[in-house]
Amino acid sequence: MKYRTLGNTGLDVSVLSFGASSLGSVFRETDDRQSIKTVHAAIDAGINYIDVSPYYGLTKAETVLGKAVQELQRDKFLLSSKAGRYGEAAFDFSAKRIFSSVEESLKRLHTDYLDILFLHDIEFVPAAILIEEALPAMVKLKEQGKIRFSGISGLPLQLFEKLLPQIEVDAILSYCHYSLNDTSLLELLPLLQAKGTGLVNASPLSMGLLSTRETADWHPAGSRLKAVCKQAAEHCASRGTDIAKLAVQYSTSHEEIPTTLVSTATPANIINNAAWTDEKMDTELLQEVLDILKPVHNESWVSGRPEYNEHLEPAKGGGTV
């Protein structure tokens, strides 16, 4: 396992990190004992950073992860959680809720501090509540030693482009923007470097788009994007390779992208994923896959408020009426 530094935080993170959302049975029913074993397997494989949120499985992911944390030495790994999102449409970024949220997370996670606290999916709320309530709350939490570093998370990159120049945070968590089909995160690197902001990348499989299986109905991607990604996965399968391997290798290979979160509740999966990062990438296959994905390169979807999705105008200002 390789390690890289997370911006000005100075934290050394493994290039592959563990996202605990799967532990909340977000994607399928899970066995908690298997989930806990998966966390141990991740740590044993050299992964030193774990991310979670109270939103995942509506606190279940934190609760299950907490059981594993109890069995681990807390200073041997880095842990981030989030605050502000608690349901599909349930957001609360008031200072009061941020404080209570962190208290609850610490309890569930059986720890007395978080290495990073991210404000979760902030593209859904007006910037004012973040600036007036949530961000000052994080400053306070740092003073109290309950969190070491602060961060924000969300999907549209425009969110970070607009907010980072006006706020102070130590890290951001971006997902679905540095993978085989979408490398738009690269456009954000100069801003992050200028500010020394740490970058956590997530969803190297674009939330399941890069798979031979049908994408879940809830997946917000358009049908063409879904179809082309599936085609790329089938091409890999025809060459005897799981596209997940290529995807994980690709997303973890960029020196300026310190760490990429993958999520699973199966020990074998995390062991495989970790092993892949040390193997050499099949550059010939990579080129073929990138060629297949070219027509949909950087194609994304709308998430949250219009001011963060201006680059993704709904088709011609709306559908037929």
Partner: protein, 285 residues
């Protein structure tokens, strides 16, 4: 169905549009849609209404602006065939009530439509301010058209759970993916919507959700039957969605598709409800 079948009941086309391109606020009507990129006014629709025995129609807003609603209200003033106008209202606008009261001064203003379809995040309709605003209109029994696409049905269902008394109508049967012949989860959501006794459904706008160039009549049958079964003859309305329908079919074809796909048990009474009486009741004409 043709003029010979006209009966004593009121026959109404419950959903159509007029527009004047030069007004400039129809974001979605672009030169890339040459069939629609021209003006459509009452003089264009009049012969079609006559041929099919309709006394008149409901004009529905086609642009998300107060000005466009005022424009169609002005058309309504001069056109006896316009029986009612469904305007546009932005419930996120703190001023919505004042605008509504102003619209209401006009005798042909019958209700408003919320355009969920173009919202980047449909779940915004669950914001407390939006829900509260809609509740007020529900208390006043104001007819509300809902324009959504099938991917937004979960958000709409959650909205109905919070505003169960909404006097609402789902436009264009909720825009299911007819061209992909998919029924689920659209069907399940429609069943949920139909449980709300005040909710209606417009059997309109279907041809543009099918394959524009190669649709077949039978493509629409399962969708029409599903809506007919779920909402029953008392809560469905025919709307031509003219001139938008012209992207895929002409007025007569739209009529043929629907009239030929109704449940066999639906006789003159049920068809009378569908082709006018329900619109009259819903919009309080």
């Amino acid at each position: 169905m043709n003029a010979e079948e006209v009966c004593s009941r009121m026959r109404i086309d419950a959903h159509q549009h007029y527009w004047e391109i030069a007004r400039g606020d129809y974001g979605w009507i672009t030169p890339e849609l040459p069939v629609l990129y021209r003006d459509f006014m009452p003089v264009d629709l009049a012969p079609l209404l006559q041929t099919h025995g309709f006394e008149g129609s409901i004009i529905v807003q086609a642009a998300p602006t107060v000005e466009e609603t005022e424009f169609i209200l002005s058309i309504a003033e001069q056109s006896p065939s316009v029986l009612g106008v469904v305007g546009w209202l932005d419930l996120f606008d703190p001023d919505h009530r004042r605008i509504y009261e102003k619209f209401r001064q006009h005798p042909k203003f019958k209700g408003f439509r919320i355009m969920i379809q173009d919202m980047p995040d449909a779940y915004r309709i669950l914001e407390p301010g939006f829900v509260e605003a809609l509740r007020r209109y529900a208390e006043d029994s104001v007819p509300v058209d809902l324009l959504l696409v099938s991917g937004q049905m979960d958000a709409v269902l959650k909205l109905l759970q919070q505003v169960p008394d909404l006097r609402g109508v789902i436009d264009h049967i909720g825009k299911p993916p007819i061209r992909d012949k998919e029924m689920e989860p659209w069907k399940q959501f429609m069943a949920e919507f139909a449980r709300y006794p005040q909710m209606y459904c417009k059997l309109s706008g279907m041809v543009t959700e099918g394959d524009h160039n190669q649709w077949r009549k039978e493509d629409f049958l399962p969708y029409i039957r599903t809506v007919a079964d779920l909402f029953g003859p008392q809560r469905v309305m025919f709307g031509s969605d003219w001139p938008v329908c012209l992207l895929a079919a002409d007025y007569s074809e739209v009529m043929d598709i629907l009239a030929g796909s109704l449940p066999e048990a639906w006789g003159e009474y049920e068809r009378g409800r569908l082709f006018g009486e329900n619109a009259k009741a819903f919009y309080k004409l």
